[in-house]
Every structure is written in structure tokens, then in C-alpha cells.
């Protein structure tokens, strides 16, 4: 009987000690997800599958007067396989009401050129709402980026 009580006590003691450390391990999945999300956000990574073309538009306010704001629009685009196939592009920026702020820009990048700059003069009162960027290899489907600039 004494032996049984001792064993029982030992089991309770061990269980008590082990229970202290339950749920103490780092939750690896949640931890990783958080880092991945943070990293994707830093890179504005938006591709859900292998993209044939990496592309992005940078919008830079360069100068303004009482009436107008001039923006420099820089499109970067390159084939993801390092190939030299031409890239056709279209891009446009819109105000917060969905109205175009300046004319649609279109063209083609060839010979390994990966950057094009355009100028956009908009009414100073306009608030940038959205940018629409489309790129494709000739004859291919458009890859579309619809980037919102409003919180």
C-alpha cells in the first residue's frame, strides 16, 4: 500500500512539473506566418503564381505651383526568366473619385530595357487614388496591377 501511494505521489509530482511547461514552446507556424506576412508587405509582394513579368510603378511628386502638381511616373518591368522578349505596357493614375489624372501612357520596352519614365501634370487639388498598370509580352495576356493609394 505504501509503495502504491509512493508511485501515485510520483505520478502526480511528475505531472505537476510537466504541466508547468505546457504551451511554452514557440508556435512555429504562427511565428513563421507573421514573418512571411511582414516580408511580403515590405516587398509589396502580390504575385499569387509565378509571374512572367516583374513590374511596378513608382509615383514621385516632383514640383508644384498654385494650380498644378507634376508627378514623375516610373515604370519598371522585366521578364522573370531573364529573357529579352518585348514587354508592352499601359499605365494610368486616377484621383480618389476614379477620374483619370493624366493621359493613359502606353508603349513597349525592348532590347532588355526595364525602365520608362513619364511625366504627369495634374490639378493640385486632385488626390491620388489609384494606379492601374498592365504589362504583357506581345500576344500574351495582360498582367494587371490595380494599386490603391487610399487608406
Amino acid at each position: 500500500m505504501k509503495k502504491f501511494v509512493k508511485v501515485l505521489f510520483l505520478i502526480f509530482a511528475v505531472t505537476g512539473v510537466v504541466a508547468q511547461f505546457q504551451n511554452c514552446a514557440k508556435k512555429e507556424a504562427a511565428f513563421t506566418d507573421e514573418i512571411v506576412e511582414e516580408t511580403f508587405s515590405f516587398f509589396s509582394y502580390r504575385y499569387e503564381k509565378a509571374t512572367p513579368i516583374y513590374y511596378e510603378l513608382q509615383i514621385i511628386p516632383v514640383s508644384s505651383d498654385a494650380t498644378y502638381q507634376t508627378y514623375k511616373l516610373i515604370l519598371f518591368a522585366a521578364n522573370s526568366d531573364g529573357g529579352a522578349a518585348d514587354i508592352q505596357y499601359e499605365f494610368e493614375i486616377f484621383d480618389s473619385a476614379g477620374k483619370s489624372m493624366c493621359a493613359l501612357k502606353t508603349g513597349s520596352l525592348s532590347g532588355g530595357v526595364s525602365r520608362v519614365e513619364e511625366s504627369c501634370i495634374a490639378l493640385k487639388a486632385s488626390v491620388l487614388g489609384r494606379a492601374l498598370v498592365k504589362v504583357r509580352n506581345p500576344g500574351g495576356a495582360w498582367e494587371v496591377l490595380n494599386e490603391s493609394y487610399i487608406n
Partner: protein, 185 residues
Amino acid sequence: MRLLAVLLFLISTELQAQQILPLFQNDSLRTFVTMPFRLRKSTSEGIPIVSIKLVSALSECKAMIDPNITSNFLIRCESPASVSVDVYFEFNGVIQKIRYGPLTVAQISDTGVVVQPPAVTDKYKTGRELFAAKCMECHQSPYEKENKSFTQIKQSIQSVGEMNKLNVLTDAQIQAIRDYLNHLD
């Protein structure tokens, strides 16, 4: 001994054949730009990257492997920097390393001001992305189709010839597009 020398020579030749190609041109190495690079053989075939590690500019820049194209990696810096990166890949069952850089990342503009989109936290992200991927080839702006009901979108898909190809969308996806179109800023 001679065989070993030949083997070592062959391995070193093979290793030299691995190269990193910046996919954007050098004048695109700018702050705020997500710059893609590719690890490839001399035949242009991509080599899967095992891991990547920044060895300089740790506070200004980040690097990541493209999760969808594992031969490619991305670097982005928020301040001008001189960036070097170690790229690890497997060769003949052994992990090898290429140190790439230093690359000079310059300020994107003299004013240094860039309009950045807000962090993507919107709950209509799925609908927004579906609209961009499936609808914007014809509908240039979501504003031209705002406040549509689920039934209207579904009927359009079934009755408008050019939209028939969207029959693959599930009801949940159509609902996500509807939610997005009804909550435009």
C-alpha cells in the same frame, strides 16, 4: 591524382558557370523598388536557391527568394545603400554559396519623396485581386461597375458572351468581387 585534378577543374568550371543576373537594368537599382535577380546557369536555365542572406545594409534593405520562382530573389531598400548578398544553392548534392555585390542602390529621386500605397490590410483584398485578374481586361475601372449585386454579376457572366469564360468563378469568388465593388473608397 591527375583524375582528381581534372575533377576539381570540372567542378570549378561548373561553379563559374553559375551567375546572378539583375532582371532590372543597373539604373533601376533605386530605393523603394523591388529589384528582381535570377540565379542561372550559362544556358540561362534557372537554379533553385536554397537560401539567401544579406551581408550588408541590413537596416536599409531586405532580401527574399521569390516563393513562386525559386531561381529568383528580390531585394528592396528604403534608403540608399551598398548591398551584398550571399546566395546559397545546391550543386552536386553540396550547398554552395555565391557572394553577389556590392550593389549601389541610389535614391529614386532627388526629392526623395515617393507616394507609397498603404499596407494591404483591406478585407476586400480577395475581391480586389479577382477583379484585377478577371475583369479589368475589359472593365478598365472598378468604379464603372460599382454597387452591383451578386445576382447582377452572376447573370452577366451567364448572359454576356465575352463574360462566359468567367463561369469558372465560384459563388464565393463572385461574392468577393461583389463585396469589393460595393466598398470602393
